[in-house]
Symmetry: C2
Subunit: 405 residues, 2 copies
């Protein structure tokens, strides 16, 4: 009898968690598991703000996929998924195709630019390892070039961060730590550096505790960030941005570096493959399957899972993607064993911690508010926990964040 074949697209938090959970739940004779990923490494999306600012090397935020999968049970294919052919039960890859009995789509999100002109062309993103190290090098190049020019271009030292959500704020925390280092490295006067955070919403970190938000704002302002809240970016150009408050005349902010850190949408393969979606995200059933598609799971950033209590979707976080991966793996194991009664996904939100740099953070963990050093320590615990969940103690010890006292 042919073994059923499970194909997992994507080795981010959701996909990799599905793979490593399944390899514990099923025997090598029960199922064929294939994991497809563009790179041969997994990267910590939630650490990219550090690699982007240059406070943590990009090799610290990634690890080999082959190091965490059981190669007897999971076959790894390095390739990029192009389209899902639901009727034919196969996935078109850039360099081939792969058929499946069960499919897990865990391909991760893409930046949502809301159609703002020039963002795709001129803004940098904190999206993956490639984009992060490009942003880091771009920043360094601006500082390195500043002193080279007879007519000093002040905009080389001007950085605009679009978005004061999680990614924007965490990046600002790292950036403000990195700037003094860059100034020292390239003999640049710290007072000439200008950091502006532009956020269209009326507040930074919407949904976060207000006291903690106040703390974050004052900490970042103290380190040189100017916040323009309730201000939308209208256009990004080769020399900066045009932004304005509602009903006010837009202003130009010159900046050689514009970072777009506001909003993500689902993967473009979702729409391309004919799934019904909202901004690339599919509203999945409580068992994480696509309505009407009994053999396709979608998890992570391309899924929309409704929080019934407030009738709004859960945010696309690593925490939820990993929990979905575990639930998805258990449901796949059940299906393979012929069961039809699948587990209902129940997110277990332990808390949220937003880093403000190496030694500072804000957070709510198990309902308790934290800030400063304690919150920062908790952030590292969270980061290490992801490593532990996917690769056990050895991966955590190899890649974890430990302070050496």
């Amino acid at each position: 009898m042919r073994k059923p074949k499970v194909v997992i697209l994507g080795a981010g938090y959701g996909g990799l968690m599905t793979a490593v959970t399944m390899q514990k739940l099923v025997g090598v004779n029960d199922v064929e598991i294939v994991l497809v990923n563009k790179n041969d490494y997994h990267y910590e999306t939630t650490w990219l703000h550090e690699a982007s600012a240059g406070t943590l090397h990009h090799d610290r935020v990634r690890y080999e996929i082959r190091d965490v999968i059981d190669r007897n049970k999971v076959e790894f294919i390095q390739d990029t998924a192009v389209e899902i052919k639901k009727e034919e039960k196969k996935v078109i890859l850039e360099n081939g195709e792969v058929d499946y009995d069960y499919l897990v789509v865990a391909l991760g999100g893409e930046p949502e630019t809301f159609g703002i002109k020039g963002l795709k062309e001129y803004a940098f993103g904190i999206v993956n390892v490639n984009s992060s190290r490009q942003l880091r090098e771009h920043l360094e190049y601006q500082f390195a070039t500043y002193n080279m020019e007879e007519e000093k271009k002040e905009e080389r030292l001007s950085i605009v961060v679009g978005g004061a959500g999680f990614t924007g704020i965490e990046f600002l925390g790292e950036l403000t730590n990195r700037i003094p280092e860059l100034c020292h490295e390239y003999d640049v006067d710290f007072n000439k550096v200008k950091i502006t955070c532009v956020e269209a919403a009326p507040t930074i970190l919407p949904g976060f505790d207000e006291d903690l938000v106040q703390y974050a704002v004052s900490q970042l302002e103290r380190k040189g960030v100017e916040f323009l809240i309730g201000t939308a970016i209208k256009e990004c150009t080769s020399v900066g941005i045009i932004a304005g408050k509602k009903d006010e005349e837009p202003i130009e902010i010159k900046a050689a570096t514009v970072v777009w850190a506001a909003g993500i949408r689902g993967n473009s393969i979702i729409e391309k493959s004919g799934f019904e979606a909202m901004r690339g995200r599919v509203k999945v059933q409580t068992d994480l399957r696509v309505p009407g598609q009994d053999n396709i799971f979608i998890i992570g950033d391309s899924s929309l899972f409704i929080n019934e209590e407030i009738n709004r979707p859960y945010p696309p976080t690593a925490q939820i993607a990993m929990q979905q991966g575990q639930c998805c793996a258990r449901n796949l194991a059940a299906l393979i064993k012929g069961k039809t009664d699948l587990e209902v996904f129940k997110p277990n939100i332990k808390g949220t911690v937003c880093s403000l740099g190496e030694d500072d953070a804000i957070g709510v963990v198990y309902g308790k508010k934290l800030r400063g050093g304690k919150a920062s320590l908790m952030k590292k615990v969270v980061d290490n926990r992801s490593l532990f969940m996917i690769g056990g103690a050895s991966l955590m010890l190899k890649k974890g964040k430990f302070k050496v006292f």
Copy 2:
């Protein structure tokens, strides 16, 4: 009685050597010594190829001027010399002026672009700390960007070095060591990288021993360099260069990085101040003074000192600049003491070593040919010797190049 005032312009090899030698020769009551330099640091011009390739951090190639001068005897002014007013015995600085009784012009050279179109706009130079770290960052940015673009631009990985003289060859040695690191760092296929060295002269390292030149060429070719000899760069553009052999149709070489490492000329202040000069270099008397100007010495790259044996000028090297600095200091001390019989400068050429990277070099030292590890060791001895001559054992230990076995 007013003390005579000696002003030294430039704290490169020649100027700094003049200052530190003088401070040993004269008492604090005999003379007022002022050293003027654009930066508050001295940099090792002969190490810049390493900082440019990124194999040695730029902080390793510079040190504080205040650390090596005797501040009781030498006043340091951080400013940029703009023009020398010979008749008024004063120097116009960017932020003021300084008068002198005796002047030492040791301002160093500038790149000679021979009027080649586009070089100033588009080519990078290995000229000072600013230009070197900009080149390093530019290279890194090209590698970091390569993987970010859907349509790969192969020219991002194409580097043209214009000039196969000392600087060009030493840079190629470091660059070929750095490329595998960059490929690893940015996940770039080594085979896609293209390094081309274009030299108008019929040979690389003109004047060097032929066997050693052959060795250098084969070593660099083995590490991926393609040499186009007898080929002149006609134009540098935003996308590469146009180059051609005599009587042949010029070709285009696409390259995101063009490094101009061919030829230097004297400082532009020389012509601006009305000195008679050839390519910014003043043919000085045997006592290093300017003909007709009994109180002005010119040393280093802006001086032209004729080797009587072959009736050609000595090359502008650090070795000669430092020896000129010592001779100049002794002649100044003599003048101050009322003597008129000045020392004739006699270069003492101990040898020449050209590095081919961390562990490889070619050289002729005291008439003996060296290559490989031995020559490389000798190169480090030469580098450390400059430090010792200027700042003694403590500077050498702090900034020197020592292999840790």
